[in-house]
Subunit: 388 residues, 2 copies
């Protein structure tokens, strides 16, 4: 059993949204295909995945470093000797040969797509949804075939208004979402508080509304926002400061009673270990948002979850960044706290196909084999271009 070809397609993200730091209009994502020598129904079994959202396509690193290492390796080196089938951890290890330690940036994102494509391949070979393959591989008993989901949106738009924000969240509510996340930090504190109050007219209570500063604030600003909305008892306050500024996170937590969330820009186990050591994160309260597609794939992500549990945290405190099918299957397969969705933005990758049945604040994957990316109409055309 071997991988005969690896392909990559750089796909532009649709939409012209912005958070407090980043305008996404020129962003891209790498869609990766791992073509195997195995056949089902007369066609080769192909593993598909992408590198989540927000850190650009990685065609250079994939084509120049990771793909050649995997394709030139002894095919046996990519297999689990017990099962005789592909082993995503070994694929990742081979792909990372002769890379130096540290510097967990773009290469972590490139490998995320490749490693997850191997999971899709594994699940398709077993003819089952990826969450079943993932649960079995990590020995986690699955207690539910659905997971809590919230609708992430509330970006800043040209000619924005609180009325536009309310319309947007109402649209999400009509789709079956009961919890929401919106951006802060792209306007003044006063304007952002008006936006939050407007959003609460849809969310109902603070328990249904998260706010996300995308790492923009210094400590003083982070605390000013915290003070302004502390009485609203928001669901969580996300990425107030620089993702690597653990001291800021700790200081914020010392002065803010509500849950904080961070981690979407931590791409290695060692970074998460530092957050745990120095960041002040509270057991059974704060939220970890690492994203397998940005952090070398599911092998490294599962090791992060294990590290958290070893430090007294509960895996339900994990809500991966990136609202898409990959993290839906991972959230169910590993029994995490939930996942997000971008129903209106980040097409063709964001959100879930209609068959997934969002409702009552939950989302449920279909029975399609693998991550079921082929069921998402917007993605299907890209997949067709990549693997024909």
């Amino acid at each position: 059993m071997r991988i005969v070809e690896l392909r990559e397609l750089t796909v532009p993200l649709e939409g012209r949204v912005a958070n407090a730091v980043v305008n996404f209009s020129a962003h891209t994502v790498s869609l990766v295909a791992a073509i195997s020598d195995q056949y089902r129904n007369g066609r080769p079994v192909v593993g598909l995945a992408f590198n989540s959202i927000g850190r650009f396509g990685q065609s250079g690193i994939l084509r120049e470093r990771l793909f050649p290492r995997v394709l030139s390796a002894d095919p046996e080196a990519l297999l689990n000797p017990e099962t005789g089938c592909f082993d995503p951890a070994r694929v990742a290890e081979v792909a990372m040969r002769n890379e130096k330690p540290g510097g967990h940036g773009d290469r972590a994102i490139a490998l995320g797509a490749l490693e997850l494509a191997t999971w899709d391949l594994l699940a398709k070979l077993a003819d089952e949804p990826a969450w079943r393959t993932i649960a079995r591989a990590f020995g986690h008993p699955v207690t539910s075939d659905r997971t809590p989901v919230y609708a992430a949106g509330g970006y800043y738009y040209p000619n924005d208004s609180t009325a536009r924000l309310v319309d947007e969240l109402q649209r999400y509510r009509d789709l079956g979402y009961t919890a929401f996340k919106m951006k802060i930090g792209g306007a003044t504190l006063r304007e952002d508080m008006l936006r939050i109050e407007a959003a609460l007219t849809v969310a109902g209570t603070g328990a249904n509304l998260c706010v996300d500063a995308n790492g923009r604030f210094d400590l003083e600003t982070a605390l000013a926002y915290a003070k302004a909305f502390s009485a609203l008892e928001l669901r969580w306050y996300e990425e107030a400061g620089d993702p690597l500024d653990y001291a800021l996170n700790q200081s914020l937590i010392q002065q803010y009673a509500g849950p904080v969330a961070t981690g979407e820009n931590l791409f290695s186990r060692q970074d998460v270990a530092n957050l745990v050591r120095y960041g002040g994160m509270r057991q059974a309260q704060d939220v970890f948002q690492m994203d397998a597609g940005l952090c070398y794939g599911l092998t490294e992500y599962a090791a992060m979850v294990e590290l958290l549990e070893g430090n007294g945290f509960n895996r339900r405190q994990c809500h991966p960044h990136g609202g898409h099918l990959l993290n839906l299957h991972i959230a169910i397969g590993l029994g995490l706290g939930g996942c997000e969705a971008y129903p209106g933005v980040f097409q063709p990758f964001g959100g879930y196909p209609a068959e997934c049945g969002v409702g009552d604040g939950f989302v449920r994957p279909t029975d399609a084999p693998g991550f079921g990316l082929e069921q998402k109409a917007e993605l299907a055309t890209c997949i067709e271009r990549l693997v024909g």
Copy 2:
């Protein structure tokens, strides 16, 4: 004044050496050219630099993200309004637009090459060696036109022996080097101690010999090595553990009296701030090895030096990773503790042209404008291929 074209050439590193973690035989480096609309002697002035050594060429990120942002920007946005000349900090800022915080990996390396090419361009426009331009820009009085240098080598080779290692270091001594660095961690502790003792027959005393584990050790192994060579009073003990494992570094320092060195795999100010906060580094003793060509360029590197001084460290504790002309000029221009050289390896980028006159443990740049890369014969052919 504007940059009319940006070019990149991915150049393979010569040599088949390995440290404890990495075999360099498939490594590459990006050589970048920033072609201006300014002319000298009938030819356009071209800024040249590369992304140091050890983290691969970055053609994908340069061509897909950084170059298009710089070339599509308003040319005024790249200039210092006071001088009317290119401003490397502004070039870097434009190149990083719409990038998320955190994830300081490959993009930091890509920008390193581009930002340093802007410094080469600036120095050539002023018709002076880059160290003069750098010293003036950062307001640092230059006290010497030469800087201490040590020869870095002592890698592991196929069919290695202590005799080969001794030969290698003797060759460096014959070239004028008086201090040396060798790798550890790629053999057993017992074998490595034999290698260290052999190296000391050339180095004379421990004060002339550094050892480098390239981040390989866990704490237990790091301490076992420390204990084994503590009586030798080595010049420094480099990158014992994972570069982001600040707790390991702190524990090692608590139990090892000699100087430790780290930082070559920290690519942002925030990572250096964390090393200072949590790593236990000692004022006037330990060594910081961040490398401008790996950390978004000289603008970010100089900010790191400022951060260190703000925390009571001396800039002479900085010895940048990467033994090449870029860091030679930076070490003199910023008044750092010294730089390294790879006289035998990492061609065409490592080491210095013969005109630089290594002797008595110092190296002195020539009067060539910019970083003087054109004077390095091995590089000149690559430059010719890139800019014709």
